[in-house]
């Protein structure tokens, strides 16, 4: 009888808990997904201010956003690139021009790099450098002021974070180019 009561109490508590959680979760699910989508879309318009219309397209398991200008001409593509930085995941929205040769811009939507050091990858001067640089043969970084048209300057004291951003982009750009340009 004593054990029966223990089992019953645990069972009832768990059931009530599970019920409450599934209720809350089902109420909030749509909103959470919307938030994530909105964050990506906001970033796309930062990456490519000329874009007036965005069309989502799923190709070969990768979501690629097609960007159109006011007249309906294709101006490029945007996609999410993610990978690991110095401390945690870095998520980047990257925009490519329609010939898949130059970067339109990048926006970092999530990162947890060291404040004061690696976190400078979120600064505008760092992100702006990517505007218009060539992705072929690949993006490179250096510690000097950038000279070549596929080169960016790393954040001083935070080479690992800068390198992570460049590597994440290189990897994802290669993948996207393969998908869009068979």
């Amino acid at each position: 009888m004593k054990y029966f009561r223990i089992v019953l109490v645990l069972l009832v508590t768990s059931l009530i808990s599970a019920f409450c959680l599934s209720l809350v979760s089902s109420l909030a699910k749509a909103r959470i997904e919307n938030n994530e989508k909105a964050a990506i879309e906001r970033a796309i318009y930062v990456v490519a201010p000329a874009a007036k219309k965005v069309e989502e397209k799923l190709t070969a398991g990768k979501t690629i956003y097609k960007l159109y200008d006011g007249q309906g001409n294709l101006i490029g593509y945007a996609f999410l690139a993610k990978g690991y930085g110095y401390q945690g995941e870095i998520k980047i929205i990257c925009g490519l021009d329609k010939n898949l040769e130059k970067i339109l811009g990048i926006e970092i939507i999530a990162s947890s790099e060291t404040p004061g050091l690696g976190a400078h990858i979120n600064d505008n001067w760092f992100k702006k450098q990517f505007r218009g640089i060539k992705v072929l043969p690949r993006i490179v970084y250096s510690k000097r002021k950038s000279r070549q048209d596929n080169e960016i300057q790393a954040v001083s004291g935070a080479t690992i974070s800068s390198r992570s951003v460049v590597e994440i982009l290189n990897k994802e750009i290669t993948k996207v180019r393969k998908i869009l340009q068979p």
Partner: protein, 200 residues
Amino acid sequence: MSKKTIFLAGLWREHPNLRQLLGMCPTLAITTSVRNGFAMGTAVLFVLVFSSFMVALIKRLIPHQVRIAVYTIIIATFVTIADITLKAFFPQISRALGPYVPLIVVNCIILGRAEAFASRNSVGNSVLDALGMSLGFMWGLMAIGAVREILGRGTIFGFRLGIIHFRPWIIMLLPAGAFFALGFVVAFMNFLDRQRRFKT
């Protein structure tokens, strides 16, 4: 014990993170700004008040052997509700607090209050105790957050203080700075206590 004593215990005399040094994980990890401290404090307030209320309400129904398991289920439920709510309505705060909201489950302040107070006191007193403890926790986080934000960023609540020739001490935003700030806030609290004792 009067209602006032119960409520005030958590705010100063038995302050959860500055006196009992409980809940050190969020205290050190998320206090890089006052706003983060406030957000974390609010999440803990919600979880602690509701958990203490539930535990006090059903304390007579729970067999002694499984009480901790039942408390944990109750706490985990409220923590998950808080986590989902933050994600749905305050995505930016949720991103800033990262995994530390789900980690409230293992925050010993909450299980501690359930076991030490709510399981042997009335519902009203338990809620009062939970309110005092969580408000104490909140001001503790905000005090440490203020020290780190002012010294580490030169801002408070995100507003630039505009002290000329001040270069932020980045170390205050790093883990080591959390320990410095905690030490100074605890020492200041003890200093105030000693002053008061001498006077009376």
